[in-house]
C-alpha cells in the first residue's frame, strides 16, 4: 500500500465507510496532503464504493477542499466588505511582495499558497487572514511582515 492508500484506509477505519463519512475523509486527506489529487479521489471512491464522479462532484463544491497542489501553509485573506474597507489590499500587496506570488499561486518551494476567501467572521477586528487553521486579526503591513518572517523560519 502506498502512503495515500494507507491514509485513506485509516481514515475510513476511523470514520466508517458510509456516504455520510465522505466529508470527514476528504478533510482528513486535505489535512495530510494539502489537496485532493485525482488519485486520492479515485482511491476514496474505491474505499467507500461510490462513483469517483460523486467524490469529485462533492469535493469541488467546497472551497476548503483544494484539488490543486497547495503549499504547506495556505494563507487565506478575507476579502469581504469590512476587511476590504479596512485595508485588505495593502495586506495582499505585502504578502505578494514578500513571497513573490499572486493570489491563487504557490511558491516554487511549495511552502506557501495565497488565496482570498469570503467572510472569516472577524469583521470587528478587520482585516483578518487564516494561515491553515490559525487566525490573525487587526492586520497591518508591518504585522503581516512579522508573521510571515516567523513562518519563513519554520
Amino acid at each position: 500500500m502506498n502512503p495515500t492508500q494507507e491514509l485513506i484506509t485509516n481514515l475510513a477505519d476511523q470514520y466508517g465507510r458510509n456516504r455520510e463519512q465522505l466529508l470527514p475523509i476528504l478533510q482528513g486527506v486535505v489535512e495530510k496532503e494539502k489537496f485532493l489529487s485525482d488519485y486520492s479521489m479515485i482511491e476514496i471512491a474505491r474505499e467507500l464504493d461510490i462513483p469517483a464522479a460523486e467524490v469529485y462532484g462533492t469535493a469541488t463544491f467546497y472551497s476548503f477542499l483544494e484539488y490543486k497542489q497547495m503549499g504547506t501553509y495556505i494563507i487565506r485573506v478575507c476579502k469581504t466588505i469590512t476587511c476590504s474597507m479596512k485595508g485588505k489590499n495593502q495586506i495582499l500587496l505585502t504578502i505578494k511582495d514578500m513571497l513573490k506570488i499572486g493570489v491563487g499561486e504557490t511558491t516554487p518551494d511549495r511552502k506557501f499558497s495565497l488565496l482570498e476567501t469570503n467572510c472569516l467572521g472577524w469583521c470587528h477586528k478587520a482585516p483578518a487572514m487564516l494561515i491553515n487553521d490559525e487566525i490573525f486579526t487587526e492586520l497591518t503591513p508591518e504585522k503581516v511582515r512579522g508573521i510571515l518572517t516567523e513562518y519563513l523560519k519554520k
Binding site: F61, I81, N118, G121, C123, K125
Partner: protein
C-alpha cells in the same frame, strides 16, 4: 403596542453560569409538554435566519412518531458581518450543549451534532473537551445523549438548513425543496430540530429564569434580547447584547462615528438603510414602521460618508456569485448578470436606465430562486440601488 425606541443593553448570554448542571438536571425532570409550552410562551424566534418560533419547532419534532431523531446546532456562521456564534461557543458552550440536551429530551433524540464552519476549526479541540465533560455529566445523571462535531469546509450555503443536511450526508451543499420540513424529514430523512447557536443560548436563559423574564424584554413580535455583531465605520466594533425593538437612530447614536451614511442590517442578505430613514426604522422581526426585519443573525455594518456604495454592492454581489450553489438558474445566472450589469452602468457602457432592468431581475430572483440565498439578493441590491442611485451611475 409596546414599543421601546431606546437602546437597552442586556447581559444574559455571556453571563457566567456555573450552575448549568443544576439547571440541566432540574429541567430534565420536568414534564415535556410543560417545557414546550414555556418555550412557546416566551415567543423566542430563531436567531439564525428565518425567525421561526423555536417552541413550535420543538413541538412539531416531538410529535413525530419516528424512532430516530436529531438535534443539530447550526454553527456555520457565514453571513458577512456576523461573528457572535463563535463567541458563544468560546465563552458559554455549556449553555448551548445543555439546551441541545433539553431539546433531545423533549423530542426524543439521542444524538446531537454541531455543524461547525471550517473557518472556525481552531475552536474544535476546546469544544471537544467541553463536550466530553458534558457527556460525562449526562452519563452520571443517566441521560443517554451524545454530541459530535461535524466540520464544514468553506461554503456559506451550507448554513441553509437543508444544504447543511446534504453536506452532512456527504454530498454537495445544495438546498432541498421544502416541504418536507426538517421537523419531518431532515438529516438522513429523520425528524430533525436545527437551531442557531444563539437560539440555543437563549433557550438556556428561558429554562433558567422562566419565559416571563425573556418575554418582558423587547417589543411585540420581537421578544427578548439579541446579539448584534457591530462592524465597519464605528469606534466600538464588537458584540453587544441588546433588547429588540430599538430604533436604528438610537443604534447609530450609540455606535456611529458621527458621520454614518448608511447601515447594512442583517448582513449581505439584509437591507441597507440610509441616514434619512434611521429614525423610522425599528430593529426587530417585524419593525412596525418600515417592515424592516432581521433576516439574519444580527449583523450591523456601519458605513460613513467616505465609503462608496458602489463598492459595497459590488463586494456583496461578488460574495453571492461565489457562494451561490449554482443549482437553480435564476440565482446562478442572476448573480453573475447583476455583477456584470452594475459594472457596465458604472463604466458607462450601459445607460442608467439599465439599473431598472437589473431591479426587475432581482425581483424575478426573489420569486423564482429555490432558497434564501437567491431570494434575498434583492434585499441589498434594491435597497442600495434605490437609495444611492447616483453612486451607481457613471
Amino acid at each position: 403596542m409596546a414599543t421601546t425606541y431606546n437602546l437597552k443593553r442586556a447581559d444574559f448570554i455571556f453571563r457566567n453560569e456555573n450552575d448549568w448542571e443544576k439547571i440541566l438536571n432540574r429541567t430534565l425532570q420536568r414534564d415535556k409538554t410543560e417545557l414546550i409550552n414555556e418555550l412557546i410562551s416566551s415567543e423566542l424566534k430563531g436567531r439564525g435566519g428565518a425567525g421561526f418560533p423555536t417552541g413550535l419547532k420543538w413541538k412539531l419534532a416531538s410529535e413525530s412518531k419516528v424512532q430516530e431523531k436529531f438535534i443539530i446546532c447550526n454553527a456555520d456562521e457565514g453571513e458577512p458581518g456576523t461573528f457572535k456564534d463563535r463567541e458563544i461557543l468560546t465563552k458559554v458552550p455549556f449553555k448551548v450543549l445543555s439546551s441541545m440536551a433539553i431539546c433531545a429530551y423533549i423530542i426524543g433524540a439521542k444524538q446531537g451534532i454541531i455543524y461547525l464552519r471550517g473557518e472556525y476549526r481552531f475552536l474544535k479541540p476546546d469544544l471537544e473537551k467541553t463536550i466530553s465533560e458534558f457527556e460525562y455529566y449526562c452519563n452520571e445523571i443517566n441521560f443517554d445523549f451524545k454530541i459530535k462535531i461535524f466540520m464544514g469546509s468553506g461554503a456559506y450555503i451550507c448554513g441553509e438548513e437543508t444544504a447543511l443536511f446534504e453536506s452532512m450526508e456527504g454530498k454537495r451543499g445544495e438546498p432541498r425543496n421544502k416541504p418536507p420540513f426538517p421537523t419531518n424529514a431532515g438529516y438522513m430523512d429523520k425528524p430533525t430540530v436545527i437551531n442557531n447557536v444563539e437560539t440555543l443560548a437563549h433557550t438556556f436563559t428561558i429554562f433558567k429564569y422562566g419565559a416571563t423574564k425573556f418575554y418582558d424584554l423587547g417589543v411585540q413580535f420581537s421578544r427578548g434580547t439579541k446579539l448584534f455583531s457591530v462592524s465597519g465605520d464605528t469606534p466600538k466594533p464588537g458584540i453587544y447584547e441588546l433588547e429588540l425593538g430599538m430604533s436604528l437612530q438610537d443604534f447609530v447614536d450609540e455606535f456611529g462615528d458621527g458621520d454614518t451614511k448608511a447601515v447594512q442590517v442583517g448582513g449581505a442578505s439584509g437591507f441597507l438603510v440610509p441616514r434619512k430613514r434611521f429614525g423610522e426604522t425599528a430593529i426587530g422581526f417585524r419593525g412596525k414602521l418600515t417592515g424592516i426585519s432581521l433576516p439574519t443573525g444580527g449583523s450591523m455594518m456601519l458605513f460613513n460618508s467616505s465609503r462608496s456604495m458602489f463598492n459595497v454592492l459590488d463586494n456583496y454581489l461578488e460574495f453571492f456569485r461565489e457562494e451561490s450553489c449554482g443549482q437553480c438558474t435564476p440565482c446562478r445566472v442572476g448573480c453573475q448578470q447583476l455583477l456584470i450589469g452594475i459594472k457596465a452602468v458604472k463604466q458607462g457602457s450601459k445607460p442608467a436606465s439599465y439599473l431598472d432592468k437589473l431591479l426587475k431581475l432581482t425581483e424575478t430572483m426573489q420569486y423564482t430562486a429555490k432558497c434564501g440565498l437567491g431570494q434575498s439578493v434583492a434585499n441589498s441590491f434594491s435597497s442600495i440601488v434605490e437609495n444611492f442611485r447616483e453612486e451607481m451611475i457613471y
